[in-house]
Symmetry: C2
Subunit: 675 residues, 2 copies
């Protein structure tokens, strides 16, 4: 009641949130942040052990005073902080918020790179900085040992401690933790580290280890019909530690999605077999990626998954049959939060899973992840295409976002092509055809030389020349068109037989012999037709979305996925795979689905973002649109439309004719991985 | 915008909550209740199918008007309601709130017997009315079939429907439902019944069935060290449909709790073996009780469990070792909400479990359930005693509640007694000894005759006379004391050998021969000592709590559990098992732990109540109290204290001496089950 001579409270403002409050002098900055609900990371709960609660006392105008230095407004750096400066890279301008105490009015910046121990590194073209705001947090706790007078259970005391010391409210316990937590507490003499998972639901203790621990991992996984990719991410730093991929073993039940759905429909236990196959494969990948990262699968505390609707449903054990026929009803479209054990995953026993939402019956969580990764659109109309057996197509600007899926079939992946093969050493990936002689030059995966350069034969002996991969087929067809071998309706011109022995009659149609030794590799009329169908479907899907958005041309095109990384955008435009666009505005964005999965893994905000994004996406069902058929028919020829032509020809003229070896206008970017 | 001649809104007040609001005329009463957050049960969501949304339009003073009849203020009863009046017992004064529409100002009573289809029946002495407010609710839904234009998944549409039509917000899906819900929806042509579980966490859909369903069951289970009891409860009516019991198979690992803890400590896989044993037993009981109730185990949607701390921990798979030694630290004391599958229970795949909280290291969830069942205390000091291998003792009034556990050992259950056996046909349960001749008369389970009545021999031939059960031992020792055979220090008086051949020397001590043919059944000196230890511990515990509460005598005593139902309170007082009290104020309350478990099953409010109760209970650890030792030593003799004596002798004089057969003062209540 008595007003003493004590100094008044100090005003503290936290940036960038702008939250402010008055605190007694001597209050640790971390405690002030907690009281205001400002999130400052801390594993050790303010004991000066983890060094993660760094803040930046900032200078600037403040209320009516201008603070030009934080000096005098915070206690000076103490021994703990000096030790961290030396040993663990605490920058000179930063303070540990658990050590620094408020002495006067202050502005405190909470760094957005909440990870202060290691920055996310830009490793590949597709790598992007992801601000870390994980659902999993580690908290180091020191409980008093139990006493007979205290009748609360150890876990109840832990809950109370997490609330009072770490600000974690109303914590639940994972069933796996319930059975083992007390043993862990006892083993660590009542000093332990707990992992608390908090996303939309009540926070839950999902793991507990004796003593101090500073290690938490997650995986981001993209389940494709053909390939499953799995990235191991250090949740404490945000770094992707290792990435592995493997074939989807469901392939033995059916090459494409529809044949797998048929398998489920025809076989009583088909769904369980397919579900078991994909879960086993994911578990095997987890073991491999953990091994590469030098950790155990039990160190993985959270996982995010993306995949097309059928993969998504089969992974969850849901019957995909309704997705195989109109009206293509998803069992569930929204994002899902699950326990890993409930879907048969062998991670940490308490590990959690976040499934990104599906967009529509044909547009899955993989497309949602692409949208998340690439949705930061400006005023420009941007087209994002992810080519697989189905092509996911997103088109939008900052106001609207449209999505559709087009049934391209597997031609772009080399399937259904007579000489097609997957991208591997020995596969032809680049093709140039002399428009006069009709003689080809090629480049194969595994060598940097063109076939007419010295040493090509020697370099390629090891693996031989075995087939043509997806990007090679695109270029072959594109060059055949440019050289006049293919007419605009897609027919191989048989009259050229007279001019070149490369043109070979093949029943009632003709083929182009791309390679001769040791095996002949030919582009047949049927191959060209398969490419026409595939590119027609993709192009028609893109055009349909453009019409819906009311635009005549797109400003940028982003090619996502492995295929998008390998094809030369120029040839994609020559054959009319993508709409006309300034070639310099066509970029490969790599594994955008994987990036989206990693974003959702590392930042809860991105989960809310993708959920909101999916609900506002305008879904176009190509199968429902008569207009799609019209566009499709028109998109089958070469080129698709006259309006595309001028740009296209301008784009291709120079490089197609500049035949100087080593300066051929081929892609400068050498993709490091191949799908 | 235009104010028309439409009648003004009507004011509606719901009782007993008193919530009120204005609604447009024509609004169904159910909708008005929903909007005000007044809970009116409805399975069918207002379609006039389930008949559960009954309300009572009430008469009375209202605002400034006196409404003498609801006529004119509600639409008249319609065809649906007339059908329900005829077929399904809708009382004449009640209305279906989904059919009745507001026509004018109204007071609406929501009946507290929210179950309107069947009333809870008072089946046994211990049965009590429990107002139903289950965590599980059934909702009948009719979704539009999926269409290609609707890209939301079926479950997402179901969530939206549950929100808009049933007012269930932010629903989660149990993993088991996730995989099967769409199939159920399709099977029922998008008409289905869903079970939504909502307690403290987000509501979750835990089950889904095609079409309309009006069936939901739960079990309440009491896991004792010796016996496991399981009650099947119809969640829609509140009725207990069937009850079964079985021995706890953990007995093969150790008769008492401490020997089971030792088993866990000594054997590597001991914990898992004990956990598996109790879970198997519970699953077997579930099958049995479901069979008796004519349902399948999959129809059981929720379960509540009580048990002492070691049973509680072992059932959950928690190492009980810390409970075997000071400081007797519980791993977890708070109430727990779990999925049944996570603790290996084979109920409905989405079934939920609520574990009542434990009170302290020696005072478990069974005692908490007893407290819940009997805690409605008034100004009187009430002692509640639940006798098992440990006796749980609760003492309190409306202001304070104290709890302790006393190590009585298994003597009262007939173990450690030379002629002891469990309560079964052939066991002596009543004993009278003539103080002059020292000749006994007995009654055995399975016959209503005393041994000196005609026909006794014939009636008991079928099973023979095989031993003495717990209540028989209490009476035998009590009568031996009253007849002067036992001295006040508990010694059997050998000098009586001269007076009666029933007194037999037995080494250095003497025995009393209670029965002779076909086998001799004797109460030995060691038997008397075991009873002295047991009753001393129980009495000392009760006295300790009385001292803490600052009272010299208790106003009421409630004897809980099977043992409490069987013993004659008079003899309990004669031997000094319980403190002195007016005998008419000593009552058996039956299986109070089971009642508490059923209360928590049927009413979420009781869950909050028991949680609050446990946190305010003052826990007394007898092992920590030197005073307990003192009291224990003093409580070993007969009688315990002189102040108990006058009351005691007054209570016993008449019946003990009134020897007329058939009017012996024995208990009128015939218990139906025996533990």
């Amino acid at each position: 009641m008595s007003v003493s001579a004590e100094p008044a409270d100090a005003l503290v403002i936290f940036m960038p949130s702008g939250r402010r409050g008055r605190f007694a002098r001597g209050t640790p900055v971390l405690e002030a942040a907690r009281k205001l609900g400002v999130y400052v990371e801390s594993v050790c709960g303010g004991r000066g052990i983890c060094g993660r609660c760094q803040v930046l006392p900032s200078y600037g105008h403040f209320a009516k005073h201008a603070i030009t230095s934080a000096a005098g407004h915070l206690t000076p750096a103490n021994e703990v902080e000096f030790r961290y400066r030396k040993k663990r890279a605490l920058p000179a301008d930063r303070r540990l918020s658990c050590q620094a105490r408020i002495e006067g009015d202050l502005v405190i910046d909470v760094p957005t790179d909440t990870t202060t121990i290691g920055q996310v590194v830009r490793k590949r073209a597709e790598a992007r900085d992801i601000v870390r705001d994980c659902a999993v947090h580690l908290h180091y706790v020191e409980l008093p040992p139990p006493e007979m007078e205290r009748t609360l259970g150890d876990l109840d005391r832990l809950s109370a401690h997490l609330l009072s010391t770490h600000g974690v409210e109303l914590v639940d316990y994972d069933p796996s933790v319930l059975a083992t937590a007390q043993s862990a507490l006892i083993a660590g003499d009542y000093k332990a580290t707990v992992a608390v998972h908090s996303d939309l639901r009540r926070p839950a203790v999902i793991g507990i280890w004796p003593g101090y621990r500073e290690q938490a991992f997650g995986i981001a996984c993209d389940i494709g019909s053909t390939t499953i990719a799995c990235h191991l991410v250090d949740l404490m730093s945000g770094r992707t530690v290792a990435s592995v991929g493997a074939s989807n073993p469901q392939i033995r039940f059916g090459e494409d999605l529809m044949s797998r759905v048929s398998y489920v429909m025809m076989n009583n236990d088909g769904r369980h077999a397919l579900t078991a196959a994909v879960r086993e494969a994911v578990n095997a990948l987890v073991q491999r990626v953990a091994g590469q990262g030098g950790i155990a699968a039990e160190d993985i505390l959270e996982a995010t998954f993306v995949g097309n609707p059928i993969m998504h449903h089969l992974f969850l054990g849901i019957d995909p049959t309704p997705l195989g026929q109109a009206p293509f009803a998803l069992a569930v479209s929204g994002a899902l939060a699950l326990r890993a054990v409930d879907i048969g995953l062998a991670l940490h026993p308490g590990a959690r899973v976040y499934m990104l939402p599906c967009i529509a019956g044909h547009v899955g969580a993989d497309a949602a992840a692409v949208a998340l990764a690439e949705a930061n659109m400006g005023a420009d109309a941007t087209l994002v295409v992810d080519v697989g057996t189905n092509a996911e197509i997103l088109l939008g600007n900052k106001h609207r976002l449209l999505a559709a899926s087009s049934p391209t079939g597997p031609a772009f992946e080399g399937a259904q092509i007579s000489c097609g093969q997957r991208a591997a050493p020995g596969a032809i990936e680049r093709v140039r055809i002399d428009p006069i002689t009709l003689e080809p030059r090629v480049r194969v995966i595994g060598s940097d030389l063109w076939s007419d350069e010295d040493g090509f034969a020697e370099e390629t002996t090891a693996f031989g020349i075995t087939g043509v991969c997806g990007s090679g087929i695109i270029e072959a067809v594109g060059e055949m068109f440019l050289a006049g071998i293919i007419r605009s309706d897609g027919t191989i011109d048989g009259t050229l037989e007279a001019r070149s022995s490369r043109i070979v009659q093949d029943g009632r149609t003709f083929s182009y012999q791309l390679w001769r030794k040791p095996h002949a590799l030919s582009i047949t009329q049927a191959d060209v037709r398969a490419i026409q169908l595939a590119k027609g479907a993709l192009y028609a899907g893109a055009r349909l979305l453009m019409e819906r958005l009311g635009i005549e041309r797109v400003d940028r095109i982003k090619l996502a996925g492995a295929f998008g990384s390998h094809i030369d955008p120029k040839y994609a435009m020559i054959i009319g795979l993508i709409p006309d666009c300034d070639v310099s505005c066509v970029t490969a964005v790599g594994n955008a689905a994987g990036t989206g999965a990693r974003m959702a893994l590392l930042n809860r905000g991105h989960r809310r973002e993708v959920e909101a994004l999916v609900s506002r996406i305008e879904k176009i069902e190509t199968a429902l649109e008569p207009r799609f058929q019209t566009l499709f028919v028109h998109a089958m020829g070469f080129p698709n439309s006259t309006d595309a032509f001028p740009e296209l020809s301008r784009a291709v003229q120079l490089p197609a004719r500049a035949a100087a070896p080593g300066n051929d206008g081929g892609p400068r970017r050498r993709p490091r991985t191949r799908g």
